[in-house]
Symmetry: C2
Subunit: 309 residues, 2 copies
């Protein structure tokens, strides 16, 4: 019997799952710190794969999801800003040589999209937009039953489209991106700017966390409410753009900011209805929260490997 091992590599933690190929769900999940005491991340990754390795099965492939730009042809990390030394980093080749099995590497948000498509909120749909809204804003797209990757694999940088050329600075250094309005960081930066300008608020610090802002909003703080409202408004602009581009049947939101989605949803929906070219784009459109939580990436890479093994 065959097995597949998948990795969801993050800046802080790496999770590793063992799958038996006749089953949908992982047999085991291991979690380690990606880097301890500046040790190269690859050491911990190899260690956790070895720990997950089955005794009585053939591993037909290892599939890794990593944060950042991935060359899916070469299975190389082009740049993962949160992992030291991972620039033009041949992760696939290193794992392939060490474990002597097929290795695939892909972007973590795209793999979460595949997970939600195959086993989560997108089941049964062929045209899906998936957004992960947390510190940053990433995602993946399924179109006509295909995973959109682009020529090298650096497609679906969905957070990095300009919504206003004179807008606030994005984490990437450019201005007015979707991410700079609607990510957790975007919401925080709005509050910080307004506090600097002297806005009234019950928030006590000059740079409150997303959680503090959400709590203030729930307590009725106007500045905090406004920050989520603006995030939702621009999310409506961005998603309407994407509806015009992709005409999907399903839009899925994952990531930490979805915990505060009751604060975002009213302005998001109003803005979506305002900006959409034609009500047809909203007809029969499912808008849903992600269902697989932390396991979306592990399950997505498993499904991705099964398609390619």
């Amino acid at each position: 019997m065959d097995a597949i091992i998948t990795l969801d590599i993050g800046g802080t933690n790496t999770r590793c799952a063992l799958f038996h190929t006749e089953k949908d769900d992982p047999v085991s999940i291991e979690k380690v710190n990606t880097s301890v005491n500046n040790e190269p991340a690859i050491n911990r990754i190899i260690e956790v794969v070895e720990k997950s390795w089955p005794k009585d099965r053939k591993v037909v492939g290892i599939a890794a999801a990593a944060p950042g730009s991935i060359d899916v042809i070469k299975n190389e990390v082009i740049l993962a800003p949160n992992i030291a030394g991972w620039q033009d980093y041949p992760l696939g080749e290193i794992l392939e040589k060490h474990f002597n099995t097929k290795v695939l590497v892909n972007n973590d948000a795209r793999m979460a999209a595949v997970g939600e498509w195959k086993r989560g909120a997108g089941r049964g749909h062929n045209d899906i937009l998936y957004y992960t809204v947390s510190t940053g804003l990433g995602g993946g797209v399924i179109t006509g039953g295909h995973i959109l990757q682009g020529s090298r694999g650096i497609a679906t940088e969905v957070g990095h489209i300009v919504l206003d050329d004179n807008g606030p600075l994005c984490g990437c250094g450019k201005a007015g991106h979707f991410e700079s309005y609607s990510s957790g960081t975007g919401i925080q930066h709005h509050v910080e700017r307004k506090i600097k300008e002297g806005a009234a608020t019950i928030l006590k610090t000059a740079a409150p966390s997303s959680r503090e802002i959400a709590e203030a909003a729930k307590a009725g703080d106007e500045l905090a409410l406004e920050a989520f409202e603006i995030g939702g408004y621009y999310m409506g602009i961005a998603v309407s753009n994407y509806l015009h581009i992709f005409n999907p049947t399903c839009v899925i939101f994952g990531g930490g900011v979805t915990l505060s989605f009751d604060l975002i949803m009213p302005s998001f929906r109003a803005s979506l209805e305002k900006h959409v070219l034609n009500p047809l784009y909203l007809k029969d459109l499912k808008i849903a929260l992600a269902e697989l939580g932390d396991n979306a990436g592990l399950i997505g890479t498993y499904e991705y490997m099964k398609q390619n093994v």
Copy 2:
């Protein structure tokens, strides 16, 4: 031997081509006015197809490209604003019943994209952005060797993405779309607004045509030059958005405004380089003008029918 008939239906003219399926190029092309004296367009369309019908071959399919939103599952025109009465119009069914052969209907700009992909500037590429820049701004996308259509076929409304929520009005009634900056109409409207504001110009009328603006620009008129420069600047923003979304290897521009592309290209290229997330998106990227001219739609629908027959 088999034959395929294709139609490129426009608001003013309709062109009809006969193809022998063992050949790439049309055997004949007929052209008629789409509507004369308020006669329904379908009469002229049926007439021109009958005229093109081969005497000694079996017609295995008719493929029609039409302007507007097309339901590619039902082969119905959802809305073609330039053709009277074409709302929820079952063009495919009507032609199928009349000619007793398979009929496909799709969007004209998307079919031109397919033409350029298979036989024009996009040959050999699997990931292509195609823009037709004329009165409006439409296009099509090939991703991973697939034609992007969306769930119903109303995807790739590429001109209708918001670049600035407070921007100028678009032909569709929304604000700040790519089309409202970079189409021929967008460029005209910029000049009209500035003339109203009292800007100095050699242009003699309050609402000059695209051609007059291009001539004024070539004569050094600052307002005319500015209009093309702004069109190019926003085109750079929009195309960088699309590079981040699709990571293509080829970007193709067609349509009448490409006749003035020497006026647009400098600001387009500078803006593209400014807005792109990473130079990798521009590496090995072919940026080219369309090669098939008026025949792109007729050839694209032929290739589309061959894929689906």
